[in-house]
Structure formats: C-alpha cells, structure tokens
C-alpha cells in the first residue's frame, strides 16, 4: 500500500487536486472561486497527462544540444503535445468564464451564486 502511494505519487496528487477542484465548484459561493476551481481541475488534468508521459531517467524530447545519453532515451512526446492543446483550451475557457462573470456582475450586482438564479424551475 505504502509502496503504491510512493510510486504513484503524481497520480495520487492529481486525484487529490481533482477533488479540491470539485470541492471548489461544488461548495463555494463566489463565481470567481468557481472559475478558480475549474482552473484547478485544468491544472490537475494537465499534470496527469505530463506524468503519464514521463519515463524514468529519460531526457526531454529535443535533439538540439542534448546530452549524448539522451539518444533513444527520451520521455514520451505525445502527452506534451496534448497538454499544450489542453493549456490553450484552459486559457480560452477561463477568459470566457471571467467575461461572463463580469457581465453577470454588471446586471445582477453580485457574484453570489445563490442570488444568480433567475433561471430556474
């Protein structure tokens, strides 16, 4: 058990970060906090992808001026490409969410989720 935790430490951290993010979205009342929660989720998933790509003792997948032992000993490059895409998407989503939050504040005068419930039923 202890061994599993230590060996899979990054994955466990990812799961815990996801939990923190979900807690923020589920139980915080401020909209900005909810946006922060979504961003924590983003970070957790990005970390998960990068951690999947790591190979023990390997080097970055760049041939420019790499140390000689890096040849044929590189970390998996695909998750890094995926994570780049994911980061851009994260920026896009948070920008749009903040724009909506600002708009909501203009019309409702509050960022309290309890009061932003004109649409219901």
């Amino acid at each position: 058990m202890n061994e599993v935790v230590l060996v899979n430490l990054p994955f466990i951290v990812v799961a815990l970060l996801l939990a923190v993010g979900f807690y923020t979205i589920g139980f915080k009342r401020n909209l900005i906090k909810i946006v922060i929660g979504v961003e924590i989720l983003e970070g957790a998933v990005n970390l998960f992808l990068i951690a999947l790509g790591y190979v023990k003792g390997a080097y970055a997948p760049i041939y420019t001026m790499a140390p000689p032992q890096a040849e044929n000993n590189m970390v998996l490059p695909t998750p890094q490409a995926l994570t780049l895409t994911s980061i851009v998407i994260g920026v896009a989503v948070s920008a749009l969410m903040l724009a909506f939050a600002v708009n909501i504040y203009r019309h409702y005068g509050t960022l309290d989720v309890i009061k932003i419930r004109r649409l219901r039923g």
């Binding site: 979504v38 895409t85 749009l96 969410m97 909506f100 939050a101 909501i104 019309h107």
Partner: protein, 517 residues
C-alpha cells in the same frame, strides 16, 4: 478530390469562420457570407453522405502521403490523426450542415437589429465546425478538442444577448458544465492513453479489456457525455441554454447536443464494444436513464409558462426516446436472436428519432423565436390570438406540434412507433412510460397553442404582422421536411438510418478501419 471530402468538411466552414470577422462594419455582408458558406458545406455534406452510403466507410489520414495510409510502414499502430467516417457519422454530419444552413437563413432576419453580428456568424460557423469534427473523427483526443470548440462557441452564443443578465447567466452555466464534462473526458482519455499508449479509437477498441482503469474510464466518459446531451439527473443546463440562445442558433445547438449523444453511442458501441458486448448493465443504465429523462422532462415541461423553456424541456424528454431506443438495442446486443427480432429496429427508431427530433424541435423553437420577434416576450401569459396575425408561423407550429406528439402522418410518429413496439418486447413498462410521455407532450403543446395562437387578441399586439420572409422560408422548409419524412419514413430508414445502425453494430469493421487492414 472526392477522397479529400472529410477534410474539406472541416476546412470550408473553418475558412468561413476565420474570414467572417473581417466584415466588421458590414453585418449584411457577414450574414450573406455565412449563409453561402453553410450552403457550400451543405452540398459537401450531401456528397459525403452519398459517398459513404454507397461505397462504405471513408478513411482520411491527416498528414500522410495518401488519405488511406493508416499504418506507417513497419508499425502496427496508427500514429496520425485519422478521420473515420461511417454511415452514423455521415448521418449526424448531414443533420449538422442542414441545420446550420437553416439557422443561418433564419438568423438573417432574426438578429438583424443587434450589434456584433460578424462575431455571431463566426461563432455559428465554429459551432458547426465543432459538431462536424466530433462526428467525423476517429481519434479520441480530437474528439475532445472539437467537443471543446462546440462547447465554447455554444456558450458564447448563449450569452449573445449581453444586454440581458439571464443570457450571461445561462452562458456561464453552460460553459462551466461543458468545461467540467470535457475535463473529465480528457481525464479518461489520459487513463486510456496511460494504459494503451495510443489515441486512435479503432486501435484502442481492440485493446480495451476489463481492468478497473478501463471500466472507470468508461464510466467517466458515459457520465460526461450523458451530461452534455442532457440526460436527466444532469439536464439542468438544457432549459437555461436553449431558452436564452437566439432562435437562429437553436437548431445548431440542438445538433451540438446530439453530437454528444453520438459520442455516447460511439463510446458504448465502438470504443468499448468489447466490454459492452458482455456487460448488459451499460444498456440497462442507458434505457433507465432514457425513461427517466423522458418522464421528468415532459412533466417539467407541462408547468412552464416561458414558451422556449417549455420547448427545451421537451427537447430533454425527446432525448429520452433516443436513449431508450438505442439502450434497448445495447441491452440485447449479445443475443443475436433478440437482436434480429427487435434490437436492430429499436436502434433504428432511436437514431431515426434524432433527425426527426432535430427537425421538428428546430421548427418549434423557431416559431417560438418568431413569437419573441413580434411580441418581445416569451411569457405565454402575455400572448394570445396571434393565429390570424401570423398564419405561416401558425401552420409551422401546428405541423411541429403534431410531429412532436407523434400524430400520424408527421415524422415523429414513425420513429416513436418503432420505439414503442420494440421497447415493449424488452419490458412492457418502458413502452407504457413512452406512451404516457407522448400523451403529455400533446397536452403541453395544446397548452401552448391555446394560449399563444388562440384566444381573444391582445391590444398590445394589434399591429404585429407576419415575420420577415427568410424566417418564414426557414420554418416552411422544416415543416415540409416534417411532412416528407412522415410520409416516406421507409426511404429515410433504408437510405440513412439502417446503414447508420449497421455501422454502429459493425464493431470489427470499425476496428479495422473499414477493411483497410
């Protein structure tokens, strides 16, 4: 050039979307440009459907030296992004391009008086791109990217009327929901990548087994796509988003929802085909969620007094029919006798219901948009006696309402008929729920018709007239499609729906990229 069709399906609307913001001060030109781009895409979509239904699955490998080169020489895994267009994907793509065209036509008049129209049309085209990418792709991460495109552009469009606080609220809700759902999709993609080191759905489906990680990935994907398609306990965003979005976007947003439904079917039938072949609990979950969706959606619709919100709850309830139909098929997928007896017909009913529902619900939401256009309100209590003022809208509404309630000979009847007959074979209780839902649907549309179109006229709306011609044309095209699909259901079923069902059921064909290997 015909082999580049899947790539062109994405490239053409994308080109349109990137050029539309250049028409900054000329909203008319932007509208016409978007309309022509959607028309071109519609032609391409029809070509694609023709190609796929006659010649079988189309493969397009991005960046290879020829479109069919799936595997690099000497390797037995695909490394590039592959588009895998089978009849099911082409079916969804056809509905997407058709509805975008209708929506662009309708928007030409409907949002005439608002600003920021070049962004509006760009986002409309981007929403179309997102749907097309989702339904055509054969790569899991690509699916995620296009899911995000569809989610972000959809939510931006929901918040289009930024002078209304409710629009921003609905947009934010939709955005948070879609962001969380897509992040969980990405998490499960990561789980699958970590296990099998690949992202191609066809390759992954040959590898997937029964270990815990795979099952958790299946659960996460299932739940996320169920939330994005508005299945019941996670349906709350649907009425908010649908009621606040401009009516010209409604058809495309509806297709975006069903693109998630398509992804749900794709995950259940193709990606996890080996798992669901032996685990009938997935099919049962889908059927039960379908019944719940149907019933709760329709009972919530009955008490609404906002006309677009009422119709959005009907959209939820009709999603239940599709889930029920396909879920019945998924439940008996490992039993060839039952499959031949009723499973295939159930799936055909569910999938036929997708396009039927897209057509008539778009029609209904457009009539609601027309009511909003002339009265400036969506509250049913304040309307009345509009039938004489808006004859074409009234006709369109009657056709749509009859179709959604399953009254013959409109198109809703044909698919509902299949679903009742087949779900009765699995469990009579399911069919009874489906029928009760249909009756309640009719009841609630009687309510809308009585309070908006009948009754004594309201003084406020003495001077209103029929809506502008593009809106009428869009509505009448859809009404004609309703009647056509209802009168000749067999042609549509044989040409479009049964190939789609067979494509979903043909697991080995999907796994080998249509026999390339």
């Amino acid at each position: 050039m015909i082999e580049h069709l899947p790539a062109l399906m994405i490239a053409v609307p994308l080109f349109g979307a990137f050029t539309t913001p250049l028409f900054k001060k000329k909203p008319r030109a932007a509208a016409l440009w978007a309309l022509s781009i959607t028309a071109v895409t519609l032609c391409l979509g029809i070509l694609l459907v023709k190609e796929v239904t006659t010649k079988g699955m189309m493969i397009y490998v991005f960046g290879a030296s020829s479109p069919g080169l799936v595997l690099p020489s000497g390797y037995h895994v695909p490394v590039r992004i592959i588009f895998e267009v089978d009849a099911m994907g082409a079916f969804m793509a056809l509905s997407a391009v058709l509805m975008s065209f209708i929506g662009a036509m309708y928007s030409y008049s409907h949002v005439k008086f608002e600003t920021g129209l070049e962004k509006y049309y760009a986002l409309l085209l981007l929403l179309e791109v997102g749907i097309l990418g989702m339904v055509l792709t054969g790569d899991l991460f690509n699916l995620f990217v296009f899911l995000e495109i569809a989610g972000i552009s959809g939510s931006a469009l929901v918040g289009f009327r930024n002078y209304r606080g409710e629009a921003s609220e609905a947009g934010l809700k939709y955005l948070i929901v879609s962001a969380v759902a897509s992040l969980m999709v990405l998490f499960s993609i990561g789980l699958l990548y970590g296990e099998y080191g690949n992202l191609n759905m066809a390759y992954l489906s040959t590898q997937i087994g029964f270990n815990t990680v795979d099952i958790i990935a299946l659960g996460l994907l299932f739940t996320s796509f169920a939330m994005k398609c508005g299945a019941v306990p996670t349906h709350y965003w649907v009425p908010d988003a649908y009621s606040e979005v401009p009516a010209g976007i409604n058809p495309t947003l509806l297709v975006a929802t069903y693109a998630s439904l398509y992804a749900l079917f794709r995950v259940s039938f193709s990606l996890f085909g080996k798992v669901t072949l032996t685990m009938s609990s997935v099919g049962w979950i889908m059927s039960v969620i379908g019944v719940l969706t149907m019933f709760i959606g329709v009972t919530m619709a009955l008490v609404q007094k906002d006309v677009k919100r009422l119709m959005s709850y009907h959209a939820i309830s009709q999603t239940g029919y599709m889930l029920l139909g396909v879920g019945v098929g998924l439940t008996v997928i490992n039993d060839p006798a039952k499959m031949a007896a009723f499973g295939r017909d159930a799936m055909a009913g569910g999938i036929f219901h997708i396009i039927n529902h897209i057509i008539y619900k778009s029609l209904l939401l457009m009539t609601a948009g027309a009511l909003f256009y002339v009265t400036g309100t969506r509250n049913l209590n304040e309307m009345g006696g509009l039938a004489r003022k808006m004859p074409y809208t009234t006709i369109a509404f009657i056709v749509g309402a009859a179709a959604i309630s399953g009254i013959p000979p409109f198109n809703g009847f044909a698919s509902k008929f299949l679903i009742y007959e087949t779900s009765y074979q699995l469990n009579p209780l399911l069919a009874i729920f489906a029928m009760v839902t249909s009756i309640l649907t009719l009841a609630s549309f009687v309510k809308v018709f009585a309070s908006a179109f009948l009754g004594p006229p309201v003084e406020k709306y003495e001077n209103v007239g029929e809506v502008p011609k593009p809106m009428v044309a869009a509505m009448l095209i859809l009404a004609a499609l309703c009647i056509l699909f209802g009168l000749f259901p067999n042609i549509v079923l044989n040409k479009l729906v049964y190939p789609a069902v067979d494509a979903l059921l043909n697991l080995s064909g999907y796994q080998t990229w249509g026999g390339v290997l």
